[in-house]
């Protein structure tokens, strides 16, 4: 028996404000007749109660613990408009094909949240409640963010449209690569990789998440050599190029110092890691807006709490928070690459990044209609174990407003980095060209690539090298409302 079950008060009828412990459902946190207001924030949680704990009571407890409640009745509630501030669980549905777990829908009044603060929102919604004993596990699946709340955030500093205008690149995905090896290159050697990749045809190169300022390469060395490489490649191609300079550091002061240096050197883009925290991310987004800088976010660390379906926070919620917080790029999955990503769930993330209105779509894991009210579009980034031979699948799955990052698939090319970059660029342009001509790229993809490779030896070599590489493992985070599938064959 759980604490909250055994804590049932003895008398049948007692006053709401009698001292002692009372079931959450009786304290106003369960209101099955409640109709959410247009300005309410709504969260849907997957709850797995301890054995013997009633689902409704557990759900009401989540509503209580994520809003006004504490474990016992407090008379000081009566000094407030407490009915307004109580979160209200209004619906509890069993999770399909998962006995013992439920989806609990909880509505929160807008006044519970500080405008424009992810830290404040998350402190309520994923605060203490995630350690609440009567639950075995708890997962925040999705949130509805009303326009009134969305409009209190800056949103992406630059956005897809202005990023494309600044880069002068329209009508095709952008191409990138993460410099490899991740660790150990000196500044001079690192810049060499950047130069070769950009000159060969990539639009961007990227620092990896854990490249900050280490003994083998301090950050100023990296920034100086990288900008030499960017400018050389720009002159060699007549195209705008960029490299994501990772400014992630121990303190905000350090991050601002690195960002200012990146700006001074003329970089058009900087990068941060998700692990710096929501407040630091929002600060960097403000800085980026003020300084005409594109802001790339690497989602380092997210899999610790997004991957398992039973407990944590869904990545679709993180995506929504990051679009509000104001980053311009976010890693959102590849489906076909080496990292976790079910195709339908991933489609849901991409829609949340790029659309101005995302309709409810349970098959994609989207529980609510989500209006974005003209918030800038967030560019999704596909990175991790992808190569030129998958170009047709990538474009079919991810569309054209995406950065495709081929790290190993550029640097690991048998004829060198420039050849690897050229192979990817030719494959990309050929596929978009064919799609626009009305060809069925998913069916004819390999043929289209083969034809393009006739004019491009590097592409032929890339296709020969990686033709059989796939990562077909089943995903752990899949929608609950459709049969599970794996990546496109």
């Amino acid at each position: 028996m759980s604490t909250i079950e055994t804590a049932k008060p003895a008398e049948k009828k007692r006053d709401r404000y009698s001292a002692g412990v009372m079931e959450y459902r009786k304290m106003g946190y369960w209101q099955p007749d409640y109709e959410p207001k247009a300005t309410d924030v709504i969260a849907v949680f997957r709850i797995t109660p301890q054995d013997g704990v009633d689902a409704i009571e557990a759900s009401a407890a989540v509503a209580g613990e994520s809003s006004t409640a504490t474990w016992t009745v407090v008379w000081t509630d009566r000094l407030t408009a407490s009915e307004k501030y109580r979160a209200k669980c209004y619906r509890v549905d069993p999770v399909p094909n998962a006995p013992g777990s439920w989806f609990a829908y909880i509505a929160y009044d807008l006044d519970l949240f500080e405008p424009g603060s992810i830290a404040n929102l998350s402190a309520s919604i994923i605060g203490n409640v995630f350690g609440f004993k009567p639950l075995k596990a708890l997962r925040l699946e999705d949130m509805y963010l009303p326009v009134a709340y969305v409009k209190t955030f800056q949103g992406p500093a630059t956005g897809i449209v202005v990023e494309r205008e600044r880069l002068d690149k329209f009508g095709r995905p952008l191409l990138g690569a993460t410099v490899k090896p991740k660790l150990g290159l000196s500044g001079r050697n690192y810049g060499r990789v950047v130069y070769e990749a950009l000159k060969g045809g990539l639009d961007f190169t990227k620092d990896d998440e854990n490249i900050n300022s280490q003994p083998f390469m301090h950050w100023r060395e990296r920034f100086l050599y990288c900008m030499e490489a960017v400018n050389r490649a720009q002159a060699a191609s007549g195209e705008i190029k960029g490299t994501y300079l990772n400014v992630t550091a121990a303190t905000m002061e350090d991050m601002y110092e690195r960002s200012e240096f990146a700006k001074e050197l003329g970089s058009n883009i900087i990068m941060i890691d998700l692990v710096i925290g929501y407040t630091a991310i929002q600060s960097m987004a403000k800085w980026a807006r003020k300084n005409d800088m594109i802001l790339h976010l690497h989602r380092a660390g997210h899999s610790t709490y997004t991957r398992q379906k039973s407990h944590g926070v869904s990545f679709r919620v993180i995506t929504k928070w990051m679009r509000l917080a104001g980053v311009d790029h976010i890693h959102a999955g590849t489906v076909v690459g080496k990292l976790e990503g079910d195709p339908y769930t991933t489609k849901g993330y991409y829609d949340l990044c790029r659309e101005d209105f995302v309709p409810q779509n349970l098959a994609h894991g989207i529980f609510f209609d989500q209006p974005w009210a003209s918030t800038n579009k967030l560019m999704p980034v596909a990175s991790g174990g992808i190569h030129a031979g998958q170009m047709h699948q990538l474009i079919d799955l991810l569309g054209e407003d995406v950065v495709l990052q081929f790290g190993g698939g550029t640097i690991g090319h048998p004829m060198g980095i420039q050849a690897g970059a050229t192979a990817n660029r030719v494959a990309l342009e050929a596929m978009i060209f064919a799609r626009n001509e009305g060809r069925d790229i998913l069916a004819e993809g390999p043929e289209i690539l083969k034809a393009a490779a006739k004019n491009c030896t590097p592409l032929k070599q890339a296709l020969d090298t990686w033709k059989d590489v796939t990562f077909n493992y089943s995903s752990t985070d899949t929608p609950d409302f459709v049969p599970q599938v794996t990546a496109a064959e």
Partner: protein
Amino acid sequence: MRITQGAFSFLPDLTDEQIAKQIQYAIDKGWAVNVEFTDDPHPRNTYWEMWGMPMFDVKDAAGVMFELNECRKTYAGRYYIRVSAFDPSHTWESLRLSFITDRPAEEPGFALDRQEVAGRNQRYTTRSYAASTKPEGARY
């Protein structure tokens, strides 16, 4: 060197039939296509000269091809010519496709000028060999 601005510069030069298909794709999306030209292809030269207005009401690629060919009569061989497609829909209101259709026979490209400043810092300038010394119209 070959300037690789635009969506299809890594492919072999496009035939008119291929250009027309891309234009028809843009028209079918509801985008307005226009023709632009320049002899200053600096990567940050945003405003190429417009060959007339964007063709908001042209529904057939043949109409755009006619204008492209008219533009070529004056500028082919000495200028870069590109075709761009504008999407007026809410939250886009920008270009959705842009590609080079014509380029000068010789492309000398760009020099990278450096100015050594404080510390190890440098100020970089991308300078067009063709555009930096000669006036418009006499560059290629």
